[in-house]
Symmetry: C2
Subunit: 218 residues, 2 copies
DNA sequence: GATGAAGTAGGTGAAATCCCGTATTTGGTT
DNA sequence: AACCAAATACGGGATTTCACCTACTTCATC
């Protein structure tokens, strides 16, 4: 094989990294040039490792997969991103695609499918996995039907993120106010905005959203 | 090697299962006779696969690793259990050991450590991993100092579990009352008991507890 | 048959949150 | 310069939840 593609794996669990590494060991088209535990490490080593493809766990503490994908796409547009996700929710798929991922697989996928995805990606194609594809299709149909329904992925402002994070840590209005040095009423305003934007109905759904989207760790 | 140990891997992510499989492929002391996605499948196939060791992910929907361990220990005491956990909290370690796990590793462990653990376990020894060992030591010291502090792992009653589950779904007192056909005040009583038992300070911590312990899925 | 745990239910007052608003300042865009 | 979105802040009343109790019933266990 003339053109071996260089791959970096980013996942906070070493066992997953080793696992993927082991899967690709027998395959001559791909060579794993690094496996890292966080986005921070990735950006530190990106220039020296010069990967073609980055395999990215979406659910990581600190910087989540979507954020990393966005930054990669802005600063290193030649690097392709394949996202791995524990639970393939529509939200995450949409965010990942928006951020520039060219592949998306559930962690339930087989090693065969992983290699298939990598092949497609190295040919410059997209690959989204069968189970993902059906979710994308459904989402697409929804968009066509409702004209404009992709409100779900509306972005939170910086401040709203702070508030969301604080709520998810179990703080009360007053505690959040103190922490962020604003009035409790302002915290309330932010919260209402968050709930409206994300179409959630209460604090608990908000916390679950935050966990799902890697905004806080458990 | 005369005595090859038979291993089953249980994890809800195929990629992790395949990864561990791949890691053990080169090792003649251990052969993976099955990899399964849930406790249910495990108990269906246990009699035909007759494993020596079960590698168990602690964080799974439906039946979590601790429950599976307990059931295994009661019904198949010859089968050794090695727990893998994403986040190695004291609570989980304590629960796992109580339930009868003879090994406990964080998912951040290396493949080398995994094999080391399996070697110890097949010799009939316990193995808890370096990072785990320090947590165990600290917990042990606490128990010695406080005479009796392991209140943390106190069990919830059936009804309390129902209430916890309902709260975690984002229902209010009134909604839970309707759902369980009891008075809102009773729901309140249950909730207070839950918070006290688990030493949590509010609903949000409760929800996070429920997610962490696999009582609800995200 | 006493004891205790689990499940049920309620009282009361305080605290927190929700839900409807309005208003000012700041920073960026056109 | 005009405009808009974001962030900040507040009001008032309704509703919900919290905290700390008491109390009854059932059921198993000793």
């Amino acid at each position: 094989m003339i053109n071996t593609k260089k791959i970096i794996i980013v996942d906070d669990h070493k066992i997953v990294r080793d696992g993927i590494r082991a899967m690709l060991l027998c395959n001559k088209s791909f060579s794993v040039v690094g496996d890292l535990a966080s986005g921070k490490e990735l950006f530190q080593q990106l220039n020296s490792l010069t990967p073609d493809i980055v395999i990215l766990d979406i659910g990581m503490p600190e910087m989540n997969g979507v954020e990393i994908t966005g930054k990669l796409n802005r600063e290193y547009p030649a690097v392709k991103v394949l996202i791995l996700s524990a639970n393939a929710s529509e939200d995450w798929i949409v965010s990942a695609i928006k951020a520039g991922a060219v592949g998306f697989l559930p962690k339930e996928c087989s090693s065969g499918e992983l290699i298939k995805a990598l092949r497609h990606i190295s040919r410059g194609e997209n690959y989204y996995g069968e189970s993902i594809a059906s979710i994308i299709y459904r989402s697409y149909v929804n968009i066509l039907r409702d004209k404009e329904s992709p409100k779900r992925t509306e972005e939170l402002t910086e401040r709203e993120s702070d508030v969301l994070k604080a709520f998810s840590e179990g703080l009360s209005f007053k505690e959040i106010a103190d922490k962020l040095c604003i009035s409790p009423r302002t915290v309330e305003s932010h919260k209402i905005n968050i709930l409206n934007k994300l179409e959630l109905k209460n604090t608990i759904e908000m916390v679950k959203y935050a966990i799902k989207n890697g905004i806080i760790d458990l």
